[in-house]
């Protein structure tokens, strides 16, 4: 009887000890706002967004004890300024290079997100829930967030695209110990 009476408390203490590390953790939202409005036009060199998460305090507070990337989103208003429907994609370039051509983006980068369909001369507001379903290159972004936190993002579309992004941002939820 006495043995049994001590079993549960002992199991509880053992579980607490085993769980100690991961119990002292949490989920923290890190967001990086893109310049707004951001004009993106097809041409020789493209406009890339220089993302440096090290400038974000929430990232700096947790990057040393970062364990998991829990959630990702690329949100904002995506306007297609052309008279033809656009298929919008975001590409990540781990080397953080800017002013690349489309061919260079595709050679050096990885497709991160999309496609997002936008009708002629229309705006699509992408919310957090919708955006999370559009990621196709999660692992590359996760590696960058767990790495130096510095990369570039190019938002492109098919054909002779002309896009305007308003209030766009990259949202990352990190799991980190305290």
């Amino acid at each position: 009887m006495r043995t049994l009476r001590t079993t549960v408390p002992v199991l509880a203490l053992a579980a607490l000890a085993a769980a100690g590390c991961f119990l002292i953790s949490g989920q923290f939202v890190v967001h990086y706002a893109f310049p707004t409005p951001l004009s993106l036009v097809a041409g020789g060199t493209l406009t890339g967004v220089d993302v440096d998460l090290n400038t974000v305090s929430e990232y700096n507070d947790h990057k040393e004890k970062l364990k998991r990337i829990e959630d990702l989103a690329l949100v904002g208003d995506f306007r297609n300024n052309t008279g033809a429907a656009a298929s919008i994609e975001a590409w990540i370039v781990p080397g953080a290079a800017l002013n690349l051509s489309l061919a260079q983006v595709q050679a050096q980068g990885v497709r991160l997100w999309g496609p997002l369909s936008a009708g002629a001369n229309s705006t699509v507001s992408v919310n957090w829930d919708q955006s999370s379903t559009l990621f196709v290159g999660r692992q590359t972004l996760i590696d960058e967030i767990k790495g130096d936190g510095r990369f570039s993002v190019y938002v492109v579309a098919n054909g002779a695209f002309n896009l305007t992004l308003t209030n766009a941002a990259l949202i990352v939820v990190v799991g980190a110990t305290n």
């Binding site: 953790s25 959630d71 989103a73 829930d129 999370s132 799991g175």
Partner: protein
């Protein structure tokens, strides 16, 4: 903290007088689920079913299944608000607890299981650890009513999502041996 532990220990010891015989019960429970240090989840509700099984005196095991609907969370990004839907959380596991006789019991418990978080763009399974305290009332034979406060930690890769669950449940003994 020391006072609290002493109270728990005293209540546990005092109510250990009458151990129960073998029995199998079943019953529903429900209450509130409160995310702890999760910037991307809001408060929600939890409901479930459990089947307490008395296998030996003083020790009870309890398979359970529960479903939680965590609340939405809104984050401000550069003056624009973005809302993430809360996860649907489904847990299946097994608790072990001291089983103390009498009309009023106070018991600690621990448990382990598997938990799945599901929302748009996110569908992940974790190992679920549980620990908490319960207050059991048995107003009539075979029926017990339980009020519990529980810490649930869904762990993966060295971090965990934690919820504080406060539930009220009832269970009815469908089989018992003297």
């Amino acid at each position: 903290m020391r006072k609290f532990l002493l109270i728990v220990l005293a209540a546990t010891t005092i109510s250990t007088g009458a151990a129960q015989a073998a029995s199998v019960g079943i019953g529903p429970f429900g209450g509130a689920s409160i995310p702890i240090v999760q910037d991307d989840q809001g408060n929600g509700s939890v409901f479930g079913i459990r089947a307490p099984v008395q296998i030996v005196p003083l020790l009870r095991v309890e398979p359970f299944w529960s479903t939680s609907a965590l609340g939405d969370k809104t984050v401000d990004v550069g003056g624009t608000s973005f809302t993430r839907a809360g996860s649907d959380v489904k847990t299946f596991g097994l608790n072990a607890m001291l089983s103390l006789g009498g009309p009023v019991t106070f018991y600690p418990f621990v448990g382990i299981g598997t938990v799945k978080f599901d929302r748009g763009g996110q569908d992940e399974s974790f190992t679920s650890y549980h620990m908490g305290l319960g207050l059991g009332l048995s107003p009539i034979p075979k029926l017990s009513v339980d009020l519990r406060a529980e810490l649930q930690a869904a762990a993966k890769d060295g971090a965990s999502r934690k919820m504080g669950n406060i539930t009220l449940g009832a269970s009815y003994s469908v089989f018992s041996m003297p």
